[in-house]
Symmetry: C2
């Protein structure tokens, strides 16, 4: 951020930031975190991949974990997710069917596996990364899923005594657990798996 | 360490191994893996913690991943788990009740969280570690749980069309997912959580 010192050749601390430079640094930090984890994604490697000097990175972020957290935030928040009012307006079974293909593709992708692996792998050693992922990626999805499950309780699709938070953990937990197992599923197998999972949850 | 005196100046490769030295190396490798992950558990650190020279480690294991895999195997296989015939002889609800406290203590322990985090965090970058953990820790537990769930299907406790593998993923996935979330549960909360999870699964 507003670090003292400046790059060889830069002018003053007050100059406007270059959004393209920030985007390149965030993208490099995200990629390196996914590839090598929090410990392997050094500022030096991030700067090199982004094509900037280390000082350019240090001037903008006060710690590596802050940078990686923001990089995760920037990377995951661009993804698609149905809006809450869209969810509330649609019958649960139709919604589950509709989301199946998209979720199977996403969950079976090597990038998702690697991201989940690194986030879970950082959760004890770098808790701020899990917190960021949780707040920006998981919480919005949990809210949307809770909206859907509360509606499923009301319309009798699932039992009225369902513990929504536990059921969400069971569904999300099964998917993340499955993709990290030896012999990970491809998209076709993931589609079959999600259908069985939704059925087991009472949604299909 | 009990000195089978070795290392720079050791005699020959064929001499009998010292089990206490091996146990110390395996224990050090396990601890460092749990603390720092596969990349942070260097042979140098492992040797230092075990109180031996690096050559003593290199002489016994051909790669670091082999050593860590064997260390995980040695650490997790000593734990208690009901025998299969014991499981088959007991009513499912009674068994679930009986296992609840033990499982809550284990799942809420900082060591379990750290181990799960590191194993999940290694699953893409060091797949042999996940494979070892899977084969030696998970598979026996899955077999026992499958025995229990098949019996629950037969006696009508859970629906006869239950997909046992998916339900096991949902239960194990929920627990591992829950303990890695921000604000991890203590043993009391974990007991409540497991009870809700078993209820949601139809077992309680």
């Amino acid at each position: 951020m507003s670090g003292a010192g400046s790059d060889p050749g830069s002018r003053s601390r007050g100059r406007p930031r270059d959004p393209a430079v920030e985007a390149a640094i965030l993208r490099a930090a995200y990629e390196l975190f996914v590839e090598r984890g929090a410990d392997g994604a050094s500022i030096e490697r991030i700067a090199k991949r982004a094509g900037v000097g280390k000082l350019t990175v240090y001037r903008r972020w006060s710690s590596k974990d802050d940078l990686i957290a923001q990089a995760i935030e920037a990377a995951v928040e661009t993804r698609n997710w149905p809006a809450n009012d869209e969810l509330a307006a649609m019958p649960v079974r139709e919604l589950a069917e509709r989301m199946l293909d998209q979720q199977a593709e996403a969950a079976a992708s090597p990038e998702f596996r690697a991201l989940v692996s690194q986030v879970f792998g950082s959760s004890v050693s770098h808790p701020s990364l899990m917190e960021t992922y949780w707040r920006h990626y998981i919480v919005p999805r949990r809210r949307a899923t809770a909206t859907m499950l509360e509606q499923a309780k009301r319309d009798g699709t699932i039992p009225s005594d369902t513990d929504v938070e536990v059921l969400i953990d069971m569904m999300a937990g099964a998917v993340t657990y499955r993709v990290l197992q030896p012999d990970p599923p491809d998209a076709t197998e993931m589609r079959r798996y999600l259908r069985a999972l939704y059925h087991q949850s009472g949604l299909l």
